[in-house]
């Protein structure tokens, strides 16, 4: 049956094509594929599937260069989530995804639906979610708008994850003016499954029914260009809310029902209807299976009357899934869903004919040949050129920057750094998250990496999200390398062997040469680090166009690392545990100061070359740490990162909120270094270890040719932290350190609370998109 336009559909004009974000070049390809002019419905389908979000057209050639394989990788990129084997017949599924743009418009719902989407990506692999992590970026917390975004995002993440009952176990929050107009909200989910229960979103089996499950489809999230053809009266705007609202209660039911469905054997594939909803889920499942599908939009349960095929196909209503069931098992599927008070409707089937076809009752409104709808999208490798201004920032001689008078007292500088919202304790954030539900969180937020035990085994997973956007801004290649290395180091500090990553590439507009340069270089650095550390990329997400008239965000390639802890006894906290333990510094201090939080916080500068990462050394450090931990020699291990060695020592001392410990530290071995670089520089490959067996730790490091030196001892809390360095001795009192660290964010937020009422409920009218 031929494709027939619907009565009333707008005429296809160059303007309408452009409003759908399709370039003339892409439109030519579309004409060639179809051999005719597309219908309005087809134009909508193509605009969704060939969007940056679905097609990765500006990043795919770069992403192909990343390593994706290892013996333990069961599922690499291209599925809902990556999967690695962890032994005992178990596997871990994980993925990170951004919800940056929705969160900028409506932080509470934007963040909440971000969590919902990533949960669905994981449980549609057959995995039960066991942990959530978040990587967040905001502007300066002094700004009321930023505080509104920050508190709304935190509440949105908490309310959704708490309700579904998945613990939020770790995260990072960075505040920097570079993210002022464009907050980043990246959520990662980790799930556990039996290897044999792994299911892939591949449509198969001619005659198998395609079933829509979960919430009804409304007009949410059908974006700007898509309805440009109609008059944009206020009435029409009101009918299509741009903000999608999450329903964690339905999500919890979907989660339980989906896992039951997968285990029942009645279905062959299942996928979230996420971005571009029904269109992308059905087309991608068909493409993976290299089969044809037909969908009848009149069968899709709609929330509103009179919805067109265009709207039903492109809606981004939340908490919906697409299932391919085994023919004849429809009633079994319906029974399971009914148990969970969920509805299901057969909306199509897998067909032998190699086409992607959409009907509205008897009328064919869209038809594409084979899987070319997915595979014919062009890819781009635009011009790349480093910004001269950024190069100049990197080449600044930061050693020549004069110290402020206050810096004569290093405790002043240390306190200033600890109270930087980026460094300070995020307890204000994570006490709003249920970090403990499922009673498997061995190390929760605040550790170097979170550790979640795998029930029924003696193993655990160590999890970390990480990225330093300032480093990536100054040098995207080194910065991305560093993000992988630091995530791996954090995982190893907690006792885990780094295994694989998921990545979330947050960048500006790739059509600008300086942005594409950042993307290209970051991917190059990431690939190199992943190869060196044997942590392949199993999937991820790309979020481009994070910019506003004032400029782009810092390039922020967030790394979500999963490591395996072989025995629960190896789990290692970051903070000191026993007075009398020796403190060993693994790694070497250097004169590096570039890109540091010190320069940002004390001098207001993002400048200098970020610290260099020696990947071979990092690998040896990880081996040394894990050997020492397995030998039972390590009481605590904490990586030196933002704020350098002095901040790391302070965090070791006051990191356990219920029990502080002091320390006596002698750094005179490095008297040749500038004091501020020694204390606050961010040289890589350094870990502060406390141990009852310092000789064993030093010997283990020596076997791997890694520097290690005893630098002091853990003391009672009344002792404070006296440090001997650069020919002098200064003492930081624990109460002052804890107050700077723990009080910084609450003070900023409480001061604001009276002015902005209850964030998440009172919403400013002047939201900037």
């Amino acid at each position: 049956m031929p494709v027939t336009p619907r009565p009333g559909d707008p005429t296809i004009t160059p303007a309408l094509v452009a409003e759908h974000g399709i370039t003339p070049f892409e439109y030519e390809r579309l004409l060639a594929m179809l051999g005719r002019e597309p219908t309005f419905t087809e134009l909508g389908i193509v605009s969704a599937l060939w969007s940056e979000h679905c097609s990765y057209k500006h990043s795919r050639p770069l992403l192909r260069t990343l390593p994706t394989e290892a013996p333990w990788v069961l599922q690499g990129p291209g599925e809902n989530a990556g999967v690695i084997a962890v032994g005992d017949g178990l596997a871990v599924a994980f993925k990170i995804e951004s919800h940056n743009h929705p969160s900028a418009v409506e932080p509470y719902q934007g963040a909440a639906t971000g969590v919902g989407g990533i949960l669905r990506d994981v449980f549609t692999m057959g995995a039960r979610p066991i942990a959530l992590l978040d990587s967040l970026r905001f502007g300066d917390l002094e700004s009321p708008r930023v505080r509104y975004l920050f508190s709304g995002v935190v509440k949105g993440i908490g309310d959704y994850g708490n309700c579904v009952g998945i613990p939020t176990v770790a995260g990072e929050v960075v505040f920097d003016p570079a993210y002022e107009g464009n907050p980043l909200v990246n959520a990662m989910c980790v799930g556990l499954l039996k290897e044999e229960e792994l299911i892939r979103a591949v449509a198969q089996g001619v005659g198998n029914p395609i079933i829509a499950v979960g919430a009804r489809t409304g007009r949410d999230g059908i974006h700007g260009a898509s309805f440009a053809s109609e008059d944009l009266s206020e009435e029409n705007e009101a009918k299509r809310p741009r903000v999608q609202v999450g329903d964690p209660f339905t999500e919890k039911l979907l989660l339980e029902a989906s896992l039951e469905l997968i285990r029942s054997g009645h279905i062959v594939a299942i996928q979230d209807m996420g971005a571009a909803g029904l269109t992308s889920s059905s087309a991608e499942m068909a493409a993976r299976g290299d089969v044809g599908v037909v969908i009848d939009t009149t069968k899709v349960p709609a929330r509103e009357e009179g919805m067109t095929p265009y709207e039903l196909l492109l809606s981004e209503s939340q908490e919906r899934m697409l299932v391919v069931a085994k023919k004849g098992h429809e009633d079994d599927v319906a029974a399971i869903l009914q148990k969970w008070d969920l509805t299901a409707a057969v909306i199509g089937e897998v067909i032998a004919e190699p086409v992607y076809r959409v009907t509205e009752g008897d009328r064919v409104v869209a038809e594409f040949p084979g899987i070319r709808l997915v595979t014919d999208c062009p890819t781009y490798e635009p011009e790349a050129r480093e910004s001269d201004a950024i190069r100049a920032q990197r080449e600044t001689d930061v050693a020549a920057i004069a110290e402020l008078p206050e810096e004569s007292d290093p405790v002043w500088t240390l306190t200033r750094l600890l109270s930087s919202p980026t460094i300070a304790s995020k307890r204000w954030v994570h006490r709003q998250y249920d970090t403990m539900v499922r009673t498997s969180t061995v190390i929760g937020p605040g550790g170097d990496a979170a550790v979640v035990r795998l029930r029924g085994t003696d193993k655990a997973v160590a999890l970390k999200v990480d990225c330093n956007g300032r480093y990536c801004h100054l040098d995207p290649y080194e910065g991305a390398k560093q993000a992988v290395a630091e995530a791996a180091r954090n995982v190893a500090c907690a006792g885990g062997r780094p295994k694989a990553i998921t990545n979330n590439l947050n960048f500006g507009n790739p059509k600008r040469p300086e942005v594409y340069f950042q993307l290209r270089e970051a991917v190059r650095g990431m690939g190199e680090a992943c190869r060196a550390l044997q942590t392949p990329v199993t999937g991820g997400n790309v979020s481009l166009y994070n910019e506003n008239p004032n400029g782009a965000i810092y390039p922020t390639p967030v790394i979500g690392m999963v490591g395996l802890v072989e025995a629960i006894a190896h789990v290692t906290p970051a903070h000191f545990r026993r007075a009398g333990d020796a403190i060993v510094l693994l790694g070497e201090n250097t004169a590096e100061l570039g890109g540091s939080e010190y320069l940002q916080r004390v001098h207001g500068l993002a400048a200098g070359a970020p610290p260099r990462v020696d990947l071979d050394a990092e690998r040896r450090l990880i081996d040394a740490l894990l050997d020492a931990i397995a030998g039972g020699h390590v009481a605590s291990a904490h990586d030196c990162s933002d704020g350098g060695l002095a901040v790391a020592l302070a965090e070791c001392a006051v990191g356990d909120e219920e029990r502080w410990l002091g320390a006596d530290v002698d750094l005179s071995a490095w008297d040749a270094l500038p004091r501020r670089a020694l204390l606050f520089g961010e040289a890589q490959g350094r870990v502060v270890v406390s141990t009852a067996a310092p000789d064993a730790v030093v010997a283990t490091a020596a076997r791997l040719a890694y520097a290690a030196r005893v630098v002091g001892a853990v003391a009672a809390d009344a002792h404070g932290v006296p440090v001997t360095a650069a020919g002098g001795r200064f003492t930081a009192a624990l109460a002052a350190l804890a107050d700077a660290d723990g009080g910084a964010i609450p003070r900023l937020m409480e001061r604001a609370a009276s002015a902005s009422a209850t964030a998440g409920e009172s919403r400013p009218h002047h939201t900037t998109p």
Binding site: S754, A755, S756, T758, S762
Partner: protein, 86 residues
């Protein structure tokens, strides 16, 4: 013979019970230049569409709904604001 009614119900925290949400809103209004604001209470507005023989019966049934489910007798008061035929 029944007719359709739209019933609007207001549920508010009982007077004398700490309403932290209301207090936060009052504080915010003060700092936004509304010093005249006294007590603020934040409650729920429930709109029920139902069928009944007449408005009086619809109102009676609505009161039962409130007592049974829509309001908590320990902490909340309710008021049936409107019963409108539709």
């Amino acid at each position: 013979m029944t007719a359709s009614f739209r019933i609007e119900i207001r549920v508010v925290p009982r007077r004398g019970i700490l309403d932290p949400q209301g207090k936060a809103v009052a504080d915010a209004l003060h700092s936004l230049g509304f010093p005249e604001v006294g007590d603020v209470r934040v409650g729920r507005h429930v709109v029920v569409e139902t069928r009944a023989a007449d408005a009086a019966e619809a109102g009676r049934r609505a009161a039962e709904m409130c007592e049974k489910l829509l309001a908590n007798p320990v902490t909340e008061d309710f008021e049936i604001e409107q019963v409108v035929p539709v």
